[in-house]
């Protein structure tokens, strides 16, 4: 969850590549731009353009921006559709299809009225295409196979050319064998910056973007089930799941914009803690200022883009997540019965006699699982995990944080670490005497209040945990 110095060095290298590419000779310009590949799943720092009109670049969460070259006034990009191995969170890798080494593909950034040429090389075993979701463009460039163009055969390169006519937030994805190719992770972000001061687009200090995507990857395997329609088990941002999603690190009183595109098969109510935001842009462009209102959750429907903006004026580590609670979990068993309230005394030992490594879980809720950290099937992300300064965060999937810090330098996106609450500003344990609580009636809407537990909960228990791990293949450590 932290950006490193190395990632900034690699960014610098990318910037150099961009610069070099923009100053190549005429003969070189007649050839395909050399495709730039990315091997890291870390958030790369924004790419300040070295050619063309200036703009404030975006930061792609756990992603990167594709360098371009200028060729006689045209911005040229080279996307390579190919199989990739994406680290979705440390210890869990997915076999996906993507672009230029990663899934999702790199973010493409241009400026309003830029002439754009995108070379798309297909290294997949089947044909593909790219639909430039939301763009105004010639019909033959819209990317629907069979309708607007033939598919790009394996091993071939097609060229898309159009002018980025309106500023805003866009996406790109295949429109060939679409369900398969999107289920395999083929998608990317596109940002068109305004060419001049726009009355509906405010300047911001930090501009983040990410895609919402979802996969169904059976625990213990790596390749998505492409025939899954709705019952996905991994809910991700830019093909990353918590705790693999980087934090959005900002400076106190920064004006922050977050652009989000939804390419899953369901809607996502995205919720920010501690701040109110406005939806300043949709698929159709910037929203009229009179139509904006403050809110803390915005629902993003399938195929939609939203850009939200807020003033980061509260210091701290603020959760930022989809509010569908099962979207903030990693792979889970949908048929697991509820064990809450089921007393296992006398049974646990009997079960252990037959299954020596069995551990009772779930009878007090699911939080025990995060605490126990048991070995999992190979290549499986724990359902709920992530360590915070006070223990397990017990989250997964579409969860991250906006970290607001007074001393975060402008342009510095590195993780500042955990927030230290000032004294007197954190919830604390009540140590006074508790009144006797009478059991509420079970009918008539009673709260079912309980007497305080006299059990050992919360006490330091010196039990020695001995966990035997299967030894047939090793590498089954899901944590």
């Amino acid at each position: 969850m932290s950006q490193t110095r190395r990632s900034f060095l690699s960014l610098a290298a990318l910037g150099s590549a961009t610069l070099a590419a923009s100053t190549v000779g005429r003969s070189a310009l007649a050839r395909l731009p050399e495709p730039v590949m990315q091997s890291s799943a870390e958030t790369q720092a924004p790419v300040v353009p070295n050619a063309g009109r200036p703009y404030r670049p975006v930061v792609t969460l756990n992603g990167w921006t594709l360098p371009f070259r200028m060729n006689q006034g045209v911005k040229e990009f080279h996307l390579v559709a190919e199989p990739v191995v994406r680290e979705m969170t440390p210890g869990f890798r997915a076999h996906l299809w993507g672009y230029n080494g990663q899934s999702p593909g790199p973010t493409i950034e241009v400026v309003e009225d830029d002439k754009v040429r995108i070379f798309v090389t297909n290294r997949l075993p089947e044909h593909t295409s790219i639909h430039w979701h939301g763009q105004r463009l010639p019909n033959g460039m819209d990317g629907v196979v069979g309708l607007n163009q033939p598919g790009i055969p394996p091993g071939k390169t097609f060229v898309y050319e159009f002018t980025a006519r309106r500023p805003g937030t866009f996406m790109y994805h295949p429109h060939a064998d679409e369900m398969t190719q999107m289920a395999m992770g083929m998608m990317g972000f596109w940002v068109t910056h305004p060419k001049a001061k726009h009355p509906l687009i405010d300047d911001v200090d930090r501009d983040f973007c990410f895609l919402l995507n979802a996969y169904d990857i059976e625990p213990g395997s790596a390749t998505p089930q492409i025939m899954t329609m709705l019952d996905f088990n991994l809910w991700s941002w830019n093909s990353r799941i918590f705790p693999g999603i980087d934090a959005l690190n900002v400076r106190l009183n920064d004006r922050v914009r977050i652009r989000i595109g939804n390419l899953t098969m369901t809607n996502h109510p995205i919720h920010l803690h501690g701040h109110e935001f406005e939806v300043t842009g949709t698929d159709g462009g910037p929203t009229p200022k009179g139509s904006r209102w403050m809110e803390v959750t915005t629902d993003i429907a399938v195929g939609q883009m939203r850009q939200i903006e807020f003033l980061a004026d509260e210091e701290g580590d603020w959760a930022f997540h989809c509010h569908k609670s099962h979207h903030t979990m990693n792979a889970m068993g949908h048929d697991v019965p509820t064990m809450i309230g089921v007393d296992h005394r006398g049974l646990a030992a009997r079960i252990t006699r037959h299954i020596p490594d069995y551990m009772v879980m779930g009878e007090r809720g699911m939080a025990d699982m995060a605490e126990m950290e048991m070995p999992l099937p190979a290549n499986t992300a724990p359902m709920m995990t992530g360590s915070g300064p006070y223990g397990s965060v017990e989250m997964g999937g579409m969860f991250s944080m906006v970290k607001v810090r007074r001393n975060q330098k402008p342009g510095d996106y590195t993780d500042p670490g955990w927030y230290q609450q000032p004294p007197g500003t954190q919830a604390y344990l009540y140590t006074g005497a508790l009144p006797a609580v009478r059991q509420a009636p079970v009918s008539g809407g009673g709260t079912g209040a309980q007497t305080p537990s006299k059990g050992p909960s919360g006490q330091v228990d010196p039990v020695e945990v001995r966990v035997r791990k299967p030894n047939h293949s090793g590498g089954h450590h899901g944590h």
Binding site: P219, R345, R350, I351, H354, I355, M369, P377, V442
Partner: protein, 391 residues
Amino acid sequence: MKFMFLHRAWRGSYVCAVFFLLAAAALSAQVRASDWPGANRAVDEAGGWKAYLRESQAAQAASQVTAFRPDRSPAHRAKTWGDFSQLVEHWLIVAMDAQPGLRPAIESLTRGAATDASWLTASESARAVLAQGMRVSQPLVEEVIAWVYAQEVHQRLLEREDLADIAWELARRMHAVGNLPLQEEREARLHLLEIRAARQKAEARLLQAREAIAQHARSAGVAVPTHTPAVLPLPPVPKPPADHGMESAAMGRVMAVIPRERRLAVSQRATHNPNEKPRARRGPLSPQPYALLRSYAALAQAEQQLRLAADRAQLLVEEGLAVRQVISEEHLLAYNGMLIGTPKLLKDRDEAMAFELEVLEALRDYWLARSRRDHQQAAVLLEEIFWGVAR
């Protein structure tokens, strides 16, 4: 009118019954719901996974792990084979001793270095002794195998019954706090009853198998056994070479053992006519070589059966058990990740035990086939001695 009256009466009683049922259901739900806060309090007071772990660790120290994971090491194979052989030998001796004069006769036959020549010149009385020994030994060996098998099956089913009882107890507790519908609790109960019935059946078979052995014990005046001191050993590795089919094996054996001239001579002796000039004949052989052929065919069939049984046992023991173990380990890992629940984990263990029973059955079939093959080999030897064609 009368009908209407009855109908109304019936309707009234129906309404009363419905009210009664609703009231009972509400009362029942309230009773269960009123337990709900208490159930939550109870699991909190139980102390959670660390307390259960302590309980499990204490139990583990006190009782053996019962999973059926036979050691496939050469040393273990040798030990189980040794135990099993000793058991068979013990009961063979017991059985021989129970036959008047049989054991001394066999000992006199086999005392000293038994040469091919001595076997070839074995007398009719010696043949009779050997034949009697075979008649006694073959069923006895099968009885011992059945006894060991029945003991093991019974033990496995006892464990499976315990597991089914655990699964049902868990289902019962889940149902009691409203986490499981009655149907599923009843299904768990039914499964327990089915396994219990299977265990009772296995117990009856064990008693039957033990009784067969006990009869030999009583005849020989030795103590009636209560349990077998051995388990079915794993089949030896590597596997015996592949067979070329029953008929070709039988014919090949005939051709190898009986030179053509000898066969012709035997054939001629059997159909000897002093007025007829001896000549090489084509066509069917005499009845005596047919008898030999039948023995060879029976032996070849026994070998074929043994090979098939060995293949099945090897398949299940060498690969099946290992695969099953991985499946169980993966289930446990999936349980750790809350990808499956405890009932499914218990079901997997139950399925593993069902597979272990299949393995045991394959082991029993292997040792039965091997015993029958050995018996048939002895029978062929006797035939060969009789016809003067022993190697």
